[in-house]
């Protein structure tokens, strides 16, 4: 279980200080898929940076499985808006990056990564370079690179916003399925309300800066539905409107 306990963050710059987050608390259960939505500039991505241990809070702490997170931790995987694949490495080497960096590129772990590639339709591309892959495939590779180190929690920082609309819907389904199949906890930051409703069990709505949790919306869909199918459910629009009202 992940807990953010009373987090505040102040940004310092030449022009002065900005309170980005104020007394923000939230908790995410194991295996849960949650989203964070909010007006732009409210500090959504900052929350992920804090959880991943990339930036330190001014006060408050991040607690993962009872331990305080203060620096990047192999239990936490990060997925970015852009895939950031290394063009000079082939797909397999890209996927192995985290394992190599963490000195865990054992036979067992590498074959786990290879299996993930094969399982999610990239088995024929292990020796290809990223430039030969489509945007959707590249984002899938990026997810598998994150999964290869077997993190418990995935932080998704608007991972679909760089894709065109059609690809985005497909990749949302792909990523959702992969995360569910591998039983991971996921925290998605997005400005796309539909995306949040289609994918999450729980949606945290953030206030304007300084960011704090304004409201929590819990969705209730049949657990077999894909994000795309959820979009066609009657209650999809109810949740959508509820969040829309809050953000307006």
């Amino acid at each position: 279980m992940l807990k953010l306990d009373n987090i505040s963050l102040i940004y310092h710059s030449k022009l002065g200080e900005t309170q980005a987050l104020k007394n923000l608390s939230l908790s995410v259960n194991d295996g849960e898929f949650v989203s964070i939505v909010g007006p732009s500039g409210c500090g959504k991505s900052t929350i992920l940076n804090i959880i991943s241990g990339l930036i330190k809070t001014s006060s408050g702490s991040v607690i993962l499985d009872g331990q305080v997170v203060s620096k990047p931790n192999s239990k936490i995987g990060y997925m970015f808006q852009r895939d950031n694949l290394f063009e000079w490495l082939n797909i397999l080497s890209n996927v192995k990056l985290g394992l190599v960096v963490q000195k865990k590129a054992t036979k067992e772990n590498v074959s786990y990564a290879k299996n993930l590639l094969a399982k999610y339709g990239l088995g024929d591309f292990t020796n290809h370079h990223p430039s030969n892959l489509s945007g959707g495939m590249r984002q899938r590779v990026a997810l598998i690179r994150t999964l290869a180190t077997k993190p418990e929690i995935l932080l998704l920082d608007e991972p679909f916003s760089a894709l065109d609309y059609q690809t985005r819907l497909i990749v949302q389904d792909d990523v959702y399925k992969i995360i569910r199949d591998e039983h991971k906890t996921a925290i998605l930051v997005t400005h796309d309300i539909g995306e949040a409703v289609a994918m999450s069990d729980k949606i945290f709505i953030l206030s304007k800066r300084p960011g704090t949790i304004k409201k929590i919306v819990t969705t209730n869909f049949d657990s077999n539905l894909t994000p795309f199918e959820r979009r066609k459910q009657a209650n999809f629009n109810t949740y959508f409107d509820e969040i829309w009202e809050e953000l307006a």
Partner: protein
């Protein structure tokens, strides 16, 4: 072979022709320049004593090739250029890495780099001769000085402009600074480093010839200056032609390496 439409075959044919046409015109242009040069020199429209002429240059090259001067002087200059090129490329790279890894030092050194970059290094000629002594050492030093600042600045610039998000990715994967340097910064800058080397080849020649002009008893620069002093313009032109050939060969070797690297890393450009 695939089954292309008639239109596509026509397109391919046209493209092949365009490539051929460009090459043909290039050679034709060179040939025309030489031909006109030769004719006006022989007809006495220009004084071949001052302008030389292709046939005279060719004869001069044949003459110095026969008495061994061609090979000797070319080798001296080539050797100096290669040494200056390797020293400045390697040292420039190492300095760039150090400055990148220690940002405070980078900030402190920055204005010095800018001043050194804008300083005409030839002005240091007399100092170099006094400090390292006349001859090959001074010439190589001149070559190194001309190349090293540009190398450092260009490579450092590439490092600093490495994709910030990729650095962040490495950090989230738990990479330490050394791993970020070797697994991300250096490989992602490979293409940039090679293009810096391409510029360096030209600059190394400039530095070495400059050095040979200032002080030398051998080398193509020496040959050219000597030719000028005794009013043997054929020798001067011969020196320039040989320089052209050698510098181009070195450039194309680096360009070839660039293509191989681009293919290996799978980049499309």
């Amino acid at each position: 072979m695939k089954n292309y439409s008639k239109e596509h075959l026509h397109f391919l044919q046209k493209q092949r022709f365009n490539v051929f046409f460009t090459h043909f015109c290039r050679i034709l242009l060179l040939f025309c320049i030489f031909l006109i040069w030769e004719i006006v020199a022989n007809a006495g429209i220009v004084d071949p004593f001052i302008t030389s002429s292709p046939s005279r240059i060719f004869k001069e090259i044949a003459r110095i090739a026969k008495d061994g001067n061609l090979f000797y002087h070319s080798w001296v200059t080539l050797k100096e250029t290669l040494i200056a090129f390797f020293i400045s490329s390697l040292a420039g790279f190492v300095i760039a890495v150090i400055l990148y890894v220690i940002p405070p030092v980078r900030k402190i050194i920055e204005p010095y780099l800018i001043v050194l970059n804008s300083l005409p290094k030839v002005a240091l000629g007399p100092l170099i001769i006094v400090w390292v002594g006349a001859g090959s050492k001074a010439i190589i030093t001149m070559g190194v000085l001309i190349c090293i600042v540009v190398t450092t600045i260009s490579i450092l610039n590439g490092f600093v402009n490495t994709n910030v998000e990729q650095i962040k990715l490495m950090k989230t994967l738990g990479a330490n600074p050394t791993q970020i340097l070797f697994k991300l910064i250096m490989p992602s800058n490979l293409a940039n480093i090679i293009s810096v080397l391409k510029i360096n080849v030209g600059l190394a020649w400039v530095g070495v010839i400059m050095g040979e002009y200032l002080n030398s008893s051998a080398g193509l620069g020496y040959l050219i200056v000597y030719g000028g002093q005794v009013f043997n313009l054929n020798l001067v032109m011969a020196g320039v032609v040989i320089l052209c050939v050698l510098a181009s060969i070195m450039y194309f070797i680096i360009a070839g390496i660039e293509t191989i690297v681009a293919k290996k890393t799978g980049s499309n450009n």
